[in-house]
């Protein structure tokens, strides 16, 4: 009786697990899993999703080129920082270049996010845009004033 009970419990467990997990993660789109996730997360129709997948594919070469620029400037900056313990004109120039690369990347990203959001239903597009902006463009740090009185006092002591 004990074995029968345990077997029944195991079967029920497997049934619940696979019906809930395995079936809900099927990806019949033929696109990468993270893109298929986008379709589920933002309730996209097949047509909307295919349009967004095309935009994504078209954006990827741009993204790879930007990655290479980021890598190059990071390498240069790392080398300069390792060679001295002062802010040299070369370091200032490299920092300025890194900032330019970042601005350029962010502008291109934002353009892609706008294009993707326009391919979604308005409400979902708004939600996508807000989420992507918070994850990629908006800073994750806060000013002292935003953090509260303790940090404001800390900030005051510094100046």
């Amino acid at each position: 009786m004990l074995c029968l009970g345990l077997a029944a419990a195991a079967a029920a467990y497997a049934l619940a697990y696979y019906s809930r997990f395995a079936l809900s993660r099927t990806n019949p789109t033929g696109h990468p899993a993270e893109l298929a996730w986008l379709q589920r997360e933002f309730n996209l129709t097949r047509g909307e999703f295919e349009r967004i997948a095309q935009l994504h594919q078209a954006y990827l070469p741009d993204c790879v080129a930007m990655c290479q620029r980021v890598d190059a400037i990071n390498r240069r900056l790392r080398g300069l920082l390792a060679a001295t313990n002062q802010v040299t004109p070369e370091i200032q120039q490299a920092l300025a270049e890194a900032a330019r690369v970042r601005t350029d990347c962010q502008a291109r990203m934002l353009g892609h996010f706008y294009a993707v959001s326009r391919s979604m239903p308005p409400e979902q597009g708004k939600r996508y845009l807000e989420w992507m902006q918070s994850q990629t463009l908006l800073p994750t740090f806060h000013s002292a004033a935003e953090l509260g009185p303790a940090s404001a006092a800390h900030e005051r002591d510094h100046h």
């Binding site: 619940a16 993270e34 996730w37 994504h56 990629t136």
Partner: protein
Amino acid sequence: MSTDKPTNSEQALDTLLHRWEVRQPLPPGFEARVWRQVARTEAVSAGPSAFWIGLEMWLRGLLGRGLAPYAYITALVLLGLAGGTWQAAGKLRQERLELRALYIQSVDPYHKSHD
């Protein structure tokens, strides 16, 4: 309109009740069932713990009627279903977070790992 003196019909009923005898034997377990019913009724009016007392009485009822094996298997099956659903929900939540991060990495050069 109650009076202290019993009427004739009440006296007759009293006499009849005193003479009344149960000749047929009670069905087996009758007394236990009566007490169970009394306890269940009391449990319902007892407050928040009434549910658990009621459940206990129900289980005792099942055990008393030889339904223990069915109750045991049903409980294990329900436990299995709940466990499987809970485990799958946790795994789906985890996977959802991973896919979100993957999507962001696929579009943001500053979220990729650079050399």
